[in-house]
Amino acid sequence: MRILVCISHVPDTTSKITFNSDHTEFNQSGVQFIINPYDEIALARAVELTEGTDGSITVINVGDASTEPTIRKALAVGATDAVRIDAAPRDAWFVAKQIAHYASEQSFDLILTGRESIDYNGSQVAALVGELLNIPSVSIVKKFDIQDREITIEREIEGGKEVLSTQLPVVLGTAEGVAEPKIPNMRGIMSARTKSLQVVPAVDVPVLSSISKYESPAPRGQVAMVDEVEQLVNLLHTKAKVL
């Protein structure tokens, strides 16, 4: 089985999010970048599925050269090889177009993305790639298993879950439950250095939308400390008007 895992390079979850002075760009200075946590889940599942088989895992990232440490980490976790589409990832549509273009020239059985990236939270790439390749896609996948070429998938729905089945190839946006993220070991880190990381030029994509400005949430007011639950209920009723 050939698996393509899409990796996004995102600010560490503890990062404070700030912007440049005219609020048009995210301020990257001092920010640590990591593999998007949901993509780590996708990658971990791909490793489980290919372990002890002749299957392979290609990781793909759309990004400039600064994302290479993130890609190397994915190789250290267990990917077979990597591709970097050499362009700044303008938006999900741009990223999905690059991935779909690359995938259309290969034959992957399974394409995995995280359910969303923790920077732009679009939950878009899995479904966009599915549509662009004209194959099924399932978003917010909690679990999946493959037998022969039949795949059974559990996806999250409001207040429950839905079980689906289809034939490979398919694109899945994975969430927690699919697998536990893997930490690279020394051998993985050493072997990652010699694995292939191919750099591919980007294809042209029309601009459909863009971000014109960013804002930070307004600071919240001072907390009102209360001693008695009755007083709290009273405040929630009379002041906050939520009871």
């Binding site: 979850t13 732009y120 996806r155 946006g173 709290l232």
Partner: protein, 324 residues
């Protein structure tokens, strides 16, 4: 040139988000001097369909075909695209629900439309461009997305737009799209839904608890509090990682993002990743035995003390309040 809005139902009953998105579309239609056409897919009775008119849908298009009974994003995207072309709709509105997240991008790609996901306010227009404020960086920031493409898809966050009544006299039409067999090669085998539970993303009140609860055996008091409040239950990440609660309840940066009217955080420290997913809640109450817990910095009301003692008292106090 109507505004097309896709509405979701659960077993023939519209979700709350259906009324939110119709009402959202109506506000755009008023600004654009046009009307709202609502599209419903699945087996929904006319009586239920008519409810959409009260929130501004003047035309309701129903698609009720056996093959489309279950949600399949590929096929549904094709049907919505067909309806959009029939209605000559350039703006399509849907909910950024779990299904919407799998549907909106497919629809946008099909139409080569610009997509604003996670919209939290009404859009504004300048010429042919549409601008809308959306969440970004897991709620640590907001971004204004400008859609310059001719066709525009807006996926509206649940709970971000109050339904506003706007009575219309509805016309119901049936659409019978020809569905491509290739769009149906995904089979829904089973749906398991806890019908007695309030859905977390849509809940107006959320009772959430963390590692401070010590163990799963103490969750009964959380459920009781949620029950008297008519609230959904949630938890922090270590709680679901430990298997005390299901992953579907975990809120935060890497969990579900919620923005209820009231969020009650019990025995949760308030780590930055947790706050990211809950900070847009309108009112936040924190119960924690540590007066230095970071959560107090973003709370509206706080109580310092042992959750295991306070929660049952709070449940009783709310019961007493409701009985009055």
């Amino acid at each position: 040139m109507a505004i097309l809005v896709y509405v979701e139902n659960i077993e023939g009953k519209f979700k709350k988000s259906a009324f939110e998105v119709v009402s959202y579309a109506k506000a755009i239609a008023q600004e654009q001097s046009t009307s709202v056409t609502a599209l419903s897919i699945g087996n929904v009775a006319d009586e239920e369909l008519n409810k959409l008119a009260a929130f501004g849908a003047s035309k309701i298009v129903k698609v009720d075909q056996e093959q489309l009974k279950q949600f399949i994003n590929k096929a549904y995207a094709a049907v919505i695209a067909e309806a959009a072309s029939k209605e000559q709709a350039h703006i399509i509105v849907l909910s950024n629900s779990f299904s919407g997240k799998g549907l909106a991008p497919r629809l946008a790609a099909k139409l080569e439309a610009g997509l604003a996901d996670g919209a939290m306010e009404l859009p504004t227009f300048s010429g042919n461009d549409l601008q809308v404020k959306k969440t970004a960086f897991s709620n640590k920031a907001f971004a204004t997305e400008v859609i310059t493409a001719d066709k525009k898809v807006i996926a509206v966050n649940p709970n971000s737009h109050e339904p506003v009544r706007s009575e219309e006299t509805p016309v119901i039409e049936t659409l019978s799209p020809s569905v491509d067999a290739g769009d149906l090669n995904l089979v829904v085998k089973d749906i398991v839904r806890a019908t007695d539970k309030i859905s977390l993303p849509e809940a107006e009140i959320v009772v959430s608890a963390g590692r401070g609860m010590k163990g799963p055996e103490n969750w009964a008091m959380i459920e009781e509090l949620a029950e008297v409040l008519g609230a959904a239950t949630a938890c922090s990440k270590p709680v679901s990682d430990a298997g005390w609660r299901p992953h579907s309840e975990h809120v935060g940066q890497t969990g579900i993002v919620v923005s209820p009217n009231l969020y009650i955080a019990i025995g949760i420290s308030g780590a930055i990743q947790h706050l990211a997913g809950v900070s847009s809640s309108k009112t936040i109450v924190v119960i924690n035995k540590d007066p230095e817990a970071p959560f107090f910095k973003v709370a509206d009301y706080g109580i310092v003390g042992d959750a295991l003692e306070i929660v049952p008292k709070l449940t009783a106090a709310i019961q007493a309040h409701k009985a009055n």
